[in-house]
Amino acid sequence: MNIVKIYLRGANFSIRSWQLVTLLYLVHTLLSLVLVLPFYSAMKDTIGPSMALENFHKSFQFTAWTEFTRDFSQKMQVFAGIIGYALLFSLFVQVFLKGGILAMIREDYARFTIKRFAEACGIWFMRFLQVSLMVLLLHLVLAFLIWLPASLILQHQFTLTLTGQSLIRTALIALTLHFVLGSLVFLFGEYTRYILFVSGTKGVFRAFRKAVVLVLKKIYLVYPLFLLLLVNGILLSLAWFFLQKVTGFGTGFTLLFLVLMQQAVFWLRNMLRLWLTASQFYLYSKFPTPLIT
């Protein structure tokens, strides 16, 4: 099976898996709605019977916006706290779903039922949680290792720079480094899960070591998949900006159109992610000879 076929097969799987995509879409959306609904009613409460925000569809108004956000900011502080917990909670949910997703991919979606899906989720949850925590820790360490020296350099440069050009350069270098190494951490985590899932390796650490070797050895094969994930995000954002330009600041029917478009975009994003996950998984498990033996 060559690499193009792997992508095609991944695409084929994701298209057939509309139920799974919808499930993932719904989980994200429900989590978000839990935050958005009180947010909306707090906004409604803040504005009350005032007409201050009525002309926003014509043009942005800094004064009205500032006065509104000032009133609203206290309520927002509560939200900021809740968002943190919601992110944590959603992390658990996402980790939980991963086992099910991989099971569906492995079984090529042959027998999708919520029950089978949930079972697989349960089986892999604890091990995948360990992987996620490890990845999180690595991301934190990485950020520390890059930004501690970077901030020292920036501080020093600030005492010499004429215009800040050198600071911008340093920050860009640090960001690029962070991006490249961060994407490797992401790939390590992803392949650790595949190794655990496919090869039956018991220990998370051993699987992680194997994943590191695999990713570094076959970087030319695994990295393009990661880049595709990025390209997806960028393309969807571009499409999104274009749509917003067309609809403008939607209210009424244009807002309805906007919502439908937004949700379609997000649904599509879930599907594209499934495509790449499936492709990555096939690359690992079904490549002419499996990537690692």
Partner: protein, 661 residues
């Protein structure tokens, strides 16, 4: 011999070029020769002071500012008032970082050496460690109208820039660097009952007040340095040590500052007869056009609004980022702005800084009000003009930030700076700059003062306000007006144009918002619409008792009530616009005095919405969101925001899942 010839030539040329009639009373003039040691960051110089006693008093004492001593140690009043602002700097460990000024000799032409009688005084706060003002008792007093000549040798160690002045690397911003005479205010000037020295210490928030004079300054420094300064360069020679000696002449100014750096790129331009110099960091050269456009736009505007810029030159300095604390400063004919690499064209910070600092030439420089005692007349009026110019040149509501979906204007920014204060009642804007409670100086002296002038303009109308400013400037340029002088002009012009429409005078306005600390907030409290039911019960009709039940209205009738509350203590006259369901509307006028006001209307029409101050004239109103009330709310905007928030959250969760799960 050569020197004498040179001097003669010099005098003839300057007389020919600059010998026009004096614009100002030249009370304190200086002839300074100074040398900059770029290794030690030390200035050594001699100043010849020519002072005329402007009063009817016999003056037996001189007072000088030695402002560089504010940077001498952490016990100076400036450092104490600045509080934690400079705590992060390395000044404490590095002796090179501090700055000071010593007078090594002060003598009069008769030979009297007054050096030993110099003593430090602290007229503002009695802080014994503050050495920013000296008193020099004279052996012979100066009689009314008589002149005094003094010769002063001084040494100034420049500090590492932490505010306004000093050095950073090879960049120098040399301000408040020489012994500067205070102002002897005669009786009657600025409300004084009798003559007195007005010579305040160097404070965290303010520094400018001085007499007009002619400054002739010769600066000696290494040849690779590029120099910009107050005034016009009238001579440039090399001395025997291969250093350059640059001579500047500035007439009718209140101060002299200069900058030097070997790195500056210099752009020269013109505005009418005025030469415009921009001294910019080479890496910022791409932004030169932005600076030059801003300063020339400001000159255009002031020429129309007040009078054309009266000096022959203006120098704009773009300081390096490592010395950015010297940015955003104003000196006569010489200002510093500031930017960074990659500053987006749509963020007009360099422009607004340039326009603001240039404007000070009119307020601190030409009107020469007292920045320390009445900052609102300098920073406030100047901020008002800054916003008018920004919004005029770059567009209302988009002059500062100008992105398609996020933009803000300068005037609204001023207002929000004031209304966003955690306690807007903390002080009135009219107060000595060092007496503002912590954090109150800037939002009250700049933002509230500018906003109250905008409110005044909206009340009396733009033509009247333009006449006020023009008249004030014409009457008071080069004369150090005080607040009452301005208010007097306001009262005269408003009465001439509007009679008693706003009362006997406008004092009620200034008493509340300038000398008072009260807040203004009107709230559209509620709108009620009730159907009027036909009356019930019994009524006499002739001999008969009839029940009301039998009476029917031919149409539905409604009782409409619109209720406004005054939440603040400040009273302003208001318009109230009320819209009805049949598309008609009425505008009512309310003097705003009572705590509450009610509009009633009975008829077939129903009120749908009501707005107080519909034209947004009362910009001092702290909260405009509560100025309107609708019975048909449109939730489009917040629905849009909620929908977008949902979309953002979905992606946030999704991205987190990609990286962690």
């Amino acid at each position: 011999m050569k020197n004498i010839l040179l001097l003669l030539f010099f005098l003839t040329v300057t007389q020919a070029i600059y010998g026009q009639a004096a614009l100002s009373p030249r009370i304190a003039s200086y002839d300074i020769r100074v040398e900059l040691d770029t290794e030690k960051h030390v200035l050594t110089g001699t100043a010849l002071l020519n002072w005329t006693n402007p009063s009817a008093d016999t003056v037996g004492e001189l007072r000088f500012h030695l402002y560089m001593n504010a940077f001498k140690n952490s016990r100076s009043t400036f450092m104490k008032e600045s509080g934690s602002r400079f705590r992060g700097t390395k000044a404490k460990e590095d002796p090179e970082a501090w700055g000071w000024i010593d007078i090594t000799r002060l003598s009069l032409p008769g030979g009297a050496d007054l050096t030993s009688s110099i003593r430090y005084i602290q007229p503002d706060d009695g802080n014994p460690f503050d050495q920013t003002v000296i008193s020099v008792p004279l052996t012979e007093p100066v009689f009314p109208g008589k002149k005094l000549r003094a010769e002063i040798d001084f040494t100034t160690k420049l500090p590492k820039i932490l505010a306004r002045t000093g050095y950073s690397g090879d960049f120098y911003l040399v301000a408040q660097w020489f012994p500067k005479l205070g102002v002897y205010e005669p009786a009657g000037m600025r409300g004084n009952e009798k003559g007195r020295w007005n010579c305040h210490q160097f404070h965290a928030n303010s520094e400018f007040y001085a007499d007009f004079g002619v400054y002739r300054v010769s600066i000696t420094l290494p040849p690779e340095y590029r120099v910009g300064a107050t005034g016009v360069r009238i001579d440039s020679v090399m001395n025997a040590d291969s250093n350059q000696v640059l001579t500047y002449l500035a007439e009718d100014v209140v101060d002299f500052a200069w900058t030097a750096s070997p790195r500056f790129e210099v752009f020269n331009d013109r505005w009418n007869q005025v030469s415009v110099h921009l001294m910019i960091q080479p890496e910022n050269a791409g932004q030169a056009g932005r600076y030059l456009h801003a300063v020339k736009s400001a000159m255009d505007y002031f020429a129309e609004a007040l009078e054309p810029y009266p000096y022959p030159s203006i120098t704009v300095v773009d300081p390096p980022l490592h010395g950015i604390q010297a940015g955003g400063m104003e000196y006569p004919m010489f200002i510093t702005a500031g930017t960074v690499a990659g500053m987006p064209e749509r963020v007009r910070i360099p422009e607004s800084l340039t326009i603001h600092e240039f404007g000070h030439n009119y307020f601190m420089g030409i009107l020469a009000t007292h920045e320390g005692e009445e900052a609102w007349m300098d920073e406030g009026m100047n901020s008002y003009f800054e916003s008018k110019i920004m919004d005029h040149v770059y567009g209302e509501q988009r002059s500062v930030y100008d992105f398609p979906r996020f933009h803000a204007g300068s005037a609204e920014n001023q207002r929000l700076g004031y209304t966003g204060m955690s306690n807007p009642r903390i002080a009135p804007p009219a107060r000595f700059s060092w007496e503002f409670p912590h954090g109150g100086y800037s939002p009250l002296s700049y933002n509230k003062a500018a906003t109250l002038l905008f409110t005044l303009e909206n009340l009396v109308g733009r033509p009247t306000m333009q006449e006020i400013m023009k008249t004030y400037y014409r009457l008071w340029k080069f004369k150090h007006p005080c607040g009452q002088d301005f208010i007097h002009v306001v009262n005269e012009v408003v009465r001439k144009n509007h009679g008693t429409r706003f009362g006997e005078n406008m004092n009620w306005f200034f008493d509340q918002v300038l000398f008072g600390s009260g807040i203004c907030d009107y709230k559209m409290a509620s709108v009620h619409v009730n159907r009027i039911r036909p009356p019930a019960g019994i009524e006499e009709v002739g001999e008969n008792k009839v029940t009301y039940r039998n009476i029917e209205y031919s149409e539905e009738l409604y009782e409409n009530r619109v209720i406004i509350h005054r939440l603040g203590d400040v009273v302003m006259p208001l318009e109230v616009k009320i819209d009805f369901d049949d598309g008609s509307s009425v505008t009512e006028y309310w003097d705003g005095k009572e705590e509450t006001w009610e509009y009633r209307h009975e008829g077939t029409r129903r009120v749908v919405r009501a707005v107080l101050d519909p034209e947004n004239k009362i910009l001092l109103d702290l909260n405009r969101q509560n100025n309107s009330y609708t019975l048909q709310p449109r939730q489009g905007t917040i629905r849009n925001w909620a929908v977008n928030f949902l979309f953002i959250l979905q992606h946030l969760f999704h991205i987190m899942a990609i990286f962690l799960a």
